[in-house]
């Protein structure tokens, strides 16, 4: 296939961008959840 490398790059870009973004969101959700837990505990302790 002619120009296959362009097609392949474009193909990878589409899903890599979505995947990386989704990963970063998942990571941030976990972090925020942990922090909320910590803050809640702090509120109960005092």
């Amino acid at each position: 296939m002619k120009n296959f490398e362009f097609l392949f790059t474009a193909w990878m870009v589409v899903w890599a961008v979505f995947f990386a973004y989704e990963l970063s969101i998942a990571r941030r959700i976990t972090q925020t959840r942990e922090e909320i837990e910590r803050l809640k505990q702090q509120l109960q302790q005092r």
């Binding site: 296939m1 002619k2 120009n3 296959f4 362009f6 097609l7 790059t9 474009a10 193909w11 870009v13 589409v14 899903w15 961008v17 979505f18 973004y21 989704e22 969101i25 998942a26 941030r28 959700i29 972090q31 925020t32 959840r33 942990e34 922090e35 909320i36 910590r38 803050l39 809640k40 702090q42 509120l43 005092r46």
Partner: protein, 243 residues
């Protein structure tokens, strides 16, 4: 949780089907051959972008009318995901243009308009990062999102009147337009796949924004009781609320 897993699995399957169809089932284009297959995802990403920006516009209006925080969260999610789809379109476009036109970029109407759109919504995200007060942040960024959305048709119209080199819309683009039936079926599948992925990502981003809001409220409560909110934080990076 189980329902979510099922939906994600279904969307993953949809992506695989769409990818297979775009690469192997769709007929070869007469003049551009293999590289034309970028089209299926290029067009799909624009479609998803417009849907995301429309969500952002709707949510911004709804926030100003109702004043509910959830609309603000949806607004910022829509813009961020829209910018993401726009970035994908801006990368795949030149990758197609290089072998076909022989250049990466040209100052054509559609390209220029989209680039401006991208800059406008990046400015929205910047604005959110630079305003401290949460109430102000929400209302001012909603005002800006509405102004930016009103600008989109004007940008397209101005550029359209000005110059264009981009291929005309193949569907309903006037005489001689129209897709091979197999091609349009594959395109529809790809539109659906990218759209579903966009919606999934948008929902997750929305959940994150709501969680951040809860977190900020907790922090505020702790501070109002005269405690140190950063006490016991695992790493300093966690203290930053982000945008």
């Amino acid at each position: 949780m189980k329902a979510r897993f099922t939906i994600t699995a279904l969307v993953a399957l949809l992506i695989l089907c769409a990818g297979y169809a775009a690469l192997f089932i769709a007929p070869d284009e007469a003049t551009m051959h293999a590289i034309q297959r970028i089209f299926y995802f290029h067009v799909a990403s624009w479609n998803a972008m417009f849907c995301a920006f429309f969500v952002a516009f709707y949510a911004s209006v709804a926030y100003l009318v109702t004043g509910k925080r959830k609309w603000d969260a949806l607004g910022v999610s829509g813009v961020e995901v829209g910018v993401l789809c726009c970035t994908i379109g801006l990368i795949t476009g030149p990758l197609w243009a290089r072998p076909v036109w022989g250049i990466w970029w040209t100052w054509d109407a559609k390209l220029t308009s989209t680039f401006i759109l991208w800059l406008l919504f990046i400015a929205y995200l910047l604005l959110r990062g630079l305003v401290e007060d949460p109430e102000k942040k929400a209302s001012l960024s909603a005002v800006f999102a509405i102004f930016a959305s009103l600008d989109i048709p004007l940008v397209y119209l101005a550029n359209r009147l000005w110059r264009t080199q981009h291929p005309q819309p193949v569907i309903a683009g006037g005489q001689g337009s129209g897709l091979d039936p197999t091609m349009s079926k594959v395109l529809l599948l790809c539109l659906l796949a990218v759209f579903c992925v966009m919606i999934l990502v948008l929902i997750d981003r929305y959940r994150l924004e709501l969680l951040r809001h809860d977190c900020a409220e907790l922090k505020f409560e702790i501070e109002s009781r005269g405690l140190d909110a950063s006490e016991g934080a695992a790493t300093p990076a966690l203290q930053k609320g982000g945008q």
